[in-house]
Symmetry: C2
Subunit: 239 residues, 2 copies
DNA sequence: TAGTGGTCTAGACCACGAA
DNA sequence: TCGTGGTCTAGACCACTAA
C-alpha cells in the first residue's frame, strides 16, 4: 500500500524510517495515531530497535508521545519560551509594519563599555549604527547598535541591510541567545523629539548582548516609547 | 574494583547503569571521560543496547557528550534561559535581603480582568494580597497578587507564607511557566509615597500570569523602582 | 592496531489497555 | 485475547581516533 517507502533508499535506515514517519504525521492533528512500531518493522523490513531509534528522535523533538499499551500519537505542540527576535520580526509578529530610518552608520573605535561587551580591545574597530525605528508609520524606538567590524567585512559598503538579523544569518552569525537588561526611565529632550513624545515621558530601555554560539556579535541599546510598546515574555515553557 | 555496582540491584537495569554513571561523573569536570560503553557492559553484565539506553538519557539531559571514535565525556553545563522565579528568589540571587510587608490580604470577588486571566467566572472567590516588597531595607516594589481561592483552601488562615512560590510548591502548584508583560511608566502619587520616590519618577510595571501545568494559579501586578531594579533576561539559550 | 561510539539484527518476555 | 510500547539479549560490522 505504502509505495513511497522504498523511494528514499539512501541514507541510514533509522533516518529513512524517521523521515517517513515525520511525513506521515505532518498532517495529523494532536492525538492522532502514528504508525505502530511493529507496523514500521514490517513496512521497512528492519529490526524493531531501528524503528525505536527513529521514533525516539521524534519523541525527543516533541512531535510524538508514547502511551504504553495504547500506541504512539502526535503530541500537541509544546509551548516555547520567548525566542530571540529582531525589531523587524517582533513588529511583524504583532501585525505592525516595521520601518527604519538610519540616522548614521559609521566606523568607530570601541570605548571601554562596548569593548568589554563585545569581548574586544579598547580602540578596536567597530561599527556604530543608529536608527529610528517606526511601526505603522509612527516612531517606536531609537536603537544604537555596535558591531565587531572584524566579524563583518564590507558591512558598511553595499548598503545597509533592512534587517540586521537577516544579514547576520546570511553570514552564519545569527544570534542564538541574548542577554538583555530592561529598565524604565524618562525620555531625554533629544529622545522625546525623535520619538515624538513629551519630554519626561516614560520609556523602556533595552540593553542587549547577542551571541552566535560563543561569540558576542551585537551590542545594542534601544529606547522604546512606553505608550506604544510593552515587552511580552514567556518564561520557563517547554514541558 | 567497582564494588558499588552490585549494590543497587533494584530497579530496571538501564536505570541502574544510568544512576551509576551519574554518580561516577558527578565529580568530573567538563571534558573528563565517562566510562566507555563496553566497560559498562562488562561491569554490569548487560547488553550494549542497555548501556546505550542509559547513556542516551544522560546525553539528553546534557550531562554527557559523545565523540565518535574517542569516547563519552562530561559536557560543559548548558546555558539556561531565564527561569521562573519569585521576588524572594530573585532578590536572594542578586545578593540582597528580601522582606515583605503585607498591606492587606483578603477574600474578594473576581472582576472581569482577573476572572479572564485566572480562567474563572466574574464574581468567583479570589484572594487579593497586596505587599510592599523591600530589599536590603529599602522599598523595591509594590505587588498585587490575585489567586484563585478554590485552588488554595485555607490560604488566608494559618498566616501568610513568606514566599508565595514556596507555599504553592508545597501544594504541588508551583508555576512552571509564566506570561509577563513589561512596561515603563511614571509613578502615581500613592506609589511614589509607598516606594519612597518622587512622584513622576520612572517605574517598571510587570504583569504576570503564572501557570502550573495548564492551570493559571497566579495573576499579579508589580511596580518596581527603576532606580533600584532592572530586569535581567537571558533568551534563547539551551545552546 | 586497539578502542571508541554509530548502526543494525532477530529475536524474547513483560505490563498494560482495549475490546 | 490481542496489540501496544518498555525492556533486554548477544552478537555483528562500520567509520573514526589515537597510539
Amino acid at each position: 500500500m505504502e509505495q513511497g517507502v522504498t523511494v528514499g533508499v539512501r541514507g541510514l535506515k533509522h533516518v529513512q524510517v524517521r523521515e517517513y514517519v515525520r511525513s506521515v504525521i505532518a498532517g495529523g492533528s494532536p492525538g492522532s495515531a502514528a504508525p505502530s512500531e511493529r507496523e514500521l518493522v514490517n513496512l521497512f523490513g528492519v529490526a524493531r530497535m531501528t524503528v525505536r531509534q527513529a521514533m525516539d528522535a521524534l519523541v525527543a523533538e516533541g512531535l510524538l508521545e508514547r502511551v504504553p499499551g495504547r500506541g504512539t500519537f502526535v503530541a500537541r505542540p509544546r509551548r516555547t519560551a520567548t525566542p530571540v527576535t529582531s525589531f523587524t520580526e517582533e513588529m511583524r509578529h504583532r501585525g505592525m509594519l516595521p520601518e527604519s530610518v538610519t540616522l548614521f552608520a559609521r566606523r568607530d573605535q570601541a570605548g571601554p563599555g562596548v569593548a568589554r561587551a563585545l569581548g574586544i580591545t579598547v580602540g578596536d574597530a567597530i561599527i556604530h549604527w543608529k536608527r529610528l525605528r517606526r511601526a505603522d508609520g509612527a516612531p517606536m524606538c531609537i536603537e544604537d547598535v555596535y558591531l565587531n567590524e572584524v566579524l563583518l567585512p564590507g558591512f558598511l559598503q553595499g548598503g545597509m541591510p533592512t534587517s540586521l538579523y537577516d544579514d547576520l544569518a546570511d553570514r552564519g552569525m545569527r544570534p542564538t541567545w541574548v542577554e538583555d537588561n530592561i529598565a524604565a526611565d524618562v525620555a531625554t529632550a533629544e529622545e522625546a523629539g525623535q520619538l515624538e513624545i513629551a519630554s519626561g515621558a516614560a520609556v523602556l530601555r533595552q540593553q542587549r548582548r547577542a551571541f552566535a554560539e560563543e561569540r558576542a556579535v551585537e551590542v545594542s541599546r534601544s529606547t522604546y516609547r512606553s505608550d506604544r510598546f510593552t515587552l511580552r515574555l514567556r518564561l520557563g515553557a517547554g514541558e
